[in-house]
């Protein structure tokens, strides 16, 4: 016989941490009812965990039975992962050159040189801007995913992380190797081997791109997914505005990074790179900073109710 009813029995300490965490995969109302039922039925913690995961899996499977999550995967997750991975790899190469200049070639005698400090003051903002933009683009990508599909977010999150891991390890190196070999010399006239001393160091060639991908792409995009889920409570005009900002920011990702135009003709890419300098929307890229700042302030001041 299956479980006997245990009406009236009070089971204390039912919800273990793993069970509580697994229950986060369910909608709040359903979580409430399911945890209550399992407690009332007196099932063991391990079985409760299995039952909750089973329900969450059924819920996700049902959601992925229609075309929308698949379209999200094909039209958003995969392209954005590739773009962000390539951009992160490129950012790691760019910033790696500066790091190599200062970390691997530091001479104490240079510290007394005015030119050294002048150049350092010039380089640090460049590197910070590279990292800040990458953070903002990654957060924006996650935000869009969270905003359009809150219920599929658990799977989207896993797929995004998987795509980004594959992106940094396989797709981006292959893309950039192809780009440096065939396109960059055509566009800029620079020799492809100009940064070989930097890439010869394992730290800059292998470890640094992974660190950049982890800290400035994967973590911000996961935070962005969470923020996007939370933003679904905003009224429709706000959500439309967020989507518009996100669209412009992602468009800027393409616009400002000519190396992402690999499959466009080099001639067209050259012309558009010139137009990019006149771009008026460049500041929109930083909209996540304003958003996060506003949300942080709203949490401190309960009077500000954006949802009204």
């Amino acid at each position: 016989m299956a479980n006997q009813p245990r009406s009236g029995q009070v089971i204390t300490g039912f919800c273990s941490r793993p069970t509580e965490l697994a229950a986060q995969l369910l909608d709040p109302r359903e979580r409430e009812a399911v945890l209550g039922d399992l407690r009332e039925l007196g099932v063991s913690q391990s079985r409760a965990l299995g039952e909750i995961l089973g329900l969450a899996a059924r819920r996700q499977a049902a959601l992925w039975a229609n075309c929308r999550p698949w379209l999200t995967l094909l039209l958003l997750i995969l392209p954005l992962s590739l773009l962000l991975s390539v951009k992160a790899r490129f950012a790691a190469q760019e910033s790696g050159v500066y790091l190599w200049m200062y970390a691997n070639n530091l001479d104490v005698a240079l510290l007394g040189n005015y030119g050294f400090w002048y150049e350092l003051a010039h380089s640090v903002p460049i590197v910070l801007a590279i990292f800040l933009k990458l953070f903002c683009w990654s957060w924006t990508a996650g935000f869009v995913l969270g905003l359009i599909g809150a219920r599929t977010a658990p799977i989207s999150r896993s797929l995004l992380v998987l795509a980004l891991v594959l992106g940094v390890s396989i797709a981006a190196p292959a893309y950039l190797a192809f780009y440096w070999r065939f396109f960059e010399p055509t566009l800029s006239g620079l020799p492809p081997a100009m940064n070989d001393p930097v890439s010869a160091v394992w730290l800059y060639r292998s470890l640094f791109p992974v660190l950049v991908q982890g800290t400035l792409v994967i973590i911000p995009s996961l935070v962005g997914i969470h923020s996007g889920q939370m933003a679904r409570v905003f009224p429709k005009p706000w959500r439309v505005a967020f989507r518009a900002l996100a669209f412009i920011a992602i468009a800027e990702l393409l616009w400002q990074n000519s190396f992402l135009w690999l499959f466009w003709s080099p001639l067209l890419a050259g012309k558009m790179a010139g137009l990019g300098k006149l771009n008026m929307f460049a500041l929109v890229v930083y909209w996540p900073l304003l958003y996060l700042l506003a949300m942080g302030m709203a949490r401190r001041i309960p009077v500000i109710a954006f949802t009204r």
């Binding site: 009813p5 009406s7 029995q9 409430e32 399911v34 945890l35 209550g36 039922d37 039952e51 329900l55």
Partner: protein, 109 residues
């Protein structure tokens, strides 16, 4: 036509009346069938039945027995009663004259 598990849930909910909610329905089904009824199967089927308009659900009051958590109360709609009656009638009609003991012996021989 509804599925047999959907019918089991409707029958359990009808039997429980105002006390029909997730855990109670699950216990009724497990006692009747002797089979384990997973929360996943129960809640996804409840959603399906609600989507078909055969039941209505609402969140009940929290109780100490459940650690202060609310119940998902279930009530059968008129459409649900009709659908369950039709299903039961079809099973009864189809089963009329069938003796499973005889059939089991026929299969053995």
């Amino acid at each position: 036509m509804m599925g047999e598990f959907e019918y089991l849930i409707l029958a359990a909910a009808a039997k429980l009346g105002d006390e029909a909610y997730g855990a109670a329905i699950r216990m009724e089904i497990e006692q009747a069938t002797g089979e384990h009824c997973s929360i996943g199967a129960l809640y996804t089927t409840l959603d399906r039945l609600e989507g078909k308009g055969l039941i209505k659900t609402r969140m009940g009051d929290p109780t100490p027995q459940r650690g202060g958590r609310s119940k998902r109360m279930v009530s059968i709609t008129t459409e649900g009663v009709e659908a369950a009656s039709e299903f039961y009638a079809a099973i009864a009609k189809l089963s009329r004259g069938v003796t499973w003991q005889t059939n089991r012996e026929a299969v053995r021989s």
